[in-house]
Amino acid sequence: MNESVSVALKSDLIGLFEKSNGELESGSGHFINFHREKALSDFNRLGIPNVKNENYRYTPLEQYFNGQYEMELSPNPSKVDIRSIFKCDVPELDTHVALVLNGFFAAGVQVNGLPEGVVVCSLGEASVKYPRLFETHYAKYADTSADGLVALNTLFAQDGFFVYIPKNVTIEKPIQIINLSHSFKNLRITRRNLIIAEENSTCNIVVCDHSLCNNGYLTNSLTEIHTGNNASLNFDRLQNENSRSTQINNLFIHQLENSRFSSNSISLHGGLIRNSFYVTLNGTGAEANLNGLFLCDDRQHVANFVLMDHASPLCTSNQLFKGILDEEATGAFNGKILVRKDAQKTQAYQKNNNILLSSTARMNTKPHLEIYADDVKCSHGATVGQLDKDALFYLRSRGIPEAEARHLLMYAFANEIVSRISIPVLKERIIDLVDKRLKGELSKCNDCNIHCG
């Protein structure tokens, strides 16, 4: 991609912002609008990251931004039957369900039965209703000056989901957010989410991303998460979108003392998926566990990027990312552990294992440690290989046909991540989905009742 295309892309996006700014502002609260000005100047400086940017070296994004997309500036009055959508996702999962359609929190879906004080609502609504929380947390962890996509998200931010769990509250049932993309044209979607888990709270959040149609979606999603002292947050994600979709997911996690954050990201399907995790362990004894599994074939691309910032002593972090790539799929893992000078007694581990099933699939992996403290335990390891031939022969020697033996091994490889999902029903469902995906039986709208594509 040459320089002039980059400049044109940037000026198109800025033009789009200027054209829609009035509508963006009128639909958003003060704290969302307040950050646009700085986001604009940052984006103007940074643009869409290209492969010259070390963090995006293996993910040529610009070409994905170049398509023709419409943008919705207000919630689309949807005719989608909510109950039929639930069948698309995780049935029998007893959750507090919320729906986000094309980036807008769906009104009319009641999130009932939550413990007192817990809020699950639209981000736009929350920005007006809860100014104190917004002032403290919104755009405080996602730094627009460092990444063009973060700036772009902040520039166009309007809505998404907002979750607030007050001090000492434990939510038994998981909160499930279903992000749906559904339209009759190609769509540019901006989602901005904020999760605040206050001191001593406990919560499970499940986020499912689905595209209901075969149109192209360019989604720029950003989630800021704050966990207070001793808070515990489980954050599981299932990404299942069509091959024409491009998904940028930036996750900023800010953790205080002894808080625990665990995340399992299962990338089942999508044209391009980029998941970035920026974790700041900003209090003694905090723990972060990031697990990811991606399965891709055709010409899909899945990239996981991690910046694990150990800013305080006695913190622990674990990263395990695994990928299976077939056909002409490409993947990237770019993981950095940063241990700051005062972060003594840090334990930080990182592992990235990948299996290539074809000679044309490619995986780039770049583990990276930067350590300024002297009393730490850190390790990293990365592998890119094929299915274990000895194991394959062992299985076949017991009468299991080659195709089935390969499936068993791939499934076992994937299961190391899937088995970490803590909600049993969700785990069962994802096991089934991964199984089907590996057998090539999973279409993008599997089990969906809306045959819109």
Partner: protein, 249 residues
């Protein structure tokens, strides 16, 4: 049951087996002995269908069919079983799932319906007890973190589950203490019938005290240089392999 004629096998262009002739009939136990590097494990792996070995000459007939044309899974489903010298660890695949898949593939091959859950559990329990494998092991991933003895017991357990017509046990005794050796050997003996056969590959005589062979063959430099009754094993125990080497230089 098994006829090997003038079998030549190479790996990476290097010839390991240089003309093996061997006939195994139903009800027989054959022991194949020989010094390290003589080609014992190559013979076992080539018979099981490991593709890194290239068959350059000769023929192998198993139950009157051309074994060498079959895939490893077809050989297994026809009734051939290889007990591995180094059983492979397969993290993430549970023994239960592994065995259920294998048994159902064998059944499918025979035109039978999949085994019922209760029949499978019953079979598991019965065969587990045969080799003294505990439930805490069978609930784990295949061989993952198993001790040497546990891995070998697991091989015999799988053999018991699959009830092969011809079992080839490749150095099943290596790495076993005397108690484990006895359990493994007892397991093999309990599975002996008039209509099946066993080839025991071993370096030492001691396994043959427990699994009594009908024939003993000595493999040296890729050829069977001596065949006799079980007394040959005792002779080898006493005199070592040097006299065989000297006779064949």
């Amino acid at each position: 049951m098994l006829q090997i004629k003038d079998l030549h096998v190479s790996i990476d262009g290097k010839e390991i087996l240089k003309g093996i002739n061997l006939e195994v009939k139903a009800g027989e136990v054959h022991a194949i002995m020989g010094p390290n590097g003589s080609g014992k494990s190559t013979l076992a792996a080539a018979l099981a269908g490991r593709d890194i070995f290239e068959i350059t000459n000769g023929s192998v007939s198993f139950l009157s069919e051309n074994l060498l044309e079959m895939s490893p899974e077809d050989r297994a489903r026809k009734g051939l079983f290889l007990g591995f010298q180094y059983p492979v660890e397969i993290p993430g695949v549970s023994i239960v799932n592994f065995m259920k898949t294998a048994i159902n593939e064998h059944r499918k091959f025979k035109g039978l319906d999949p085994i019922s859950a209760s029949d499978f559990l019953k079979l598991m329990r019965e065969k587990k007890d045969l080799v003294g494998l505990t439930s805490s092991l069978t609930n784990r991933s295949v061989n993952e973190g198993f001790s040497g003895g546990e891995k070998k017991k697991n091989e015999i357990f799988q053999m018991a589950m699959l009830q092969p017509t011809l079992a080839i046990l490749d150095e099943t005794d290596s790495g076993l203490d005397i108690d484990a050796l006895r359990i493994v050997a007892q397991g093999v003996n309990k599975l002996r019938r008039n209509d099946n056969a066993t080839i025991v590959i071993t370096h030492y005589q001691r396994l043959l005290e427990h699994i009594v062979p009908d024939f003993v063959h000595v493999l040296y430099k890729g050829k069977i240089v001596k065949s006799s009754g079980r007394e040959l094993a005792l002779e080898l125990e006493e005199k070592g392999y040097d006299w065989i080497k000297e006779d064949n230089e």
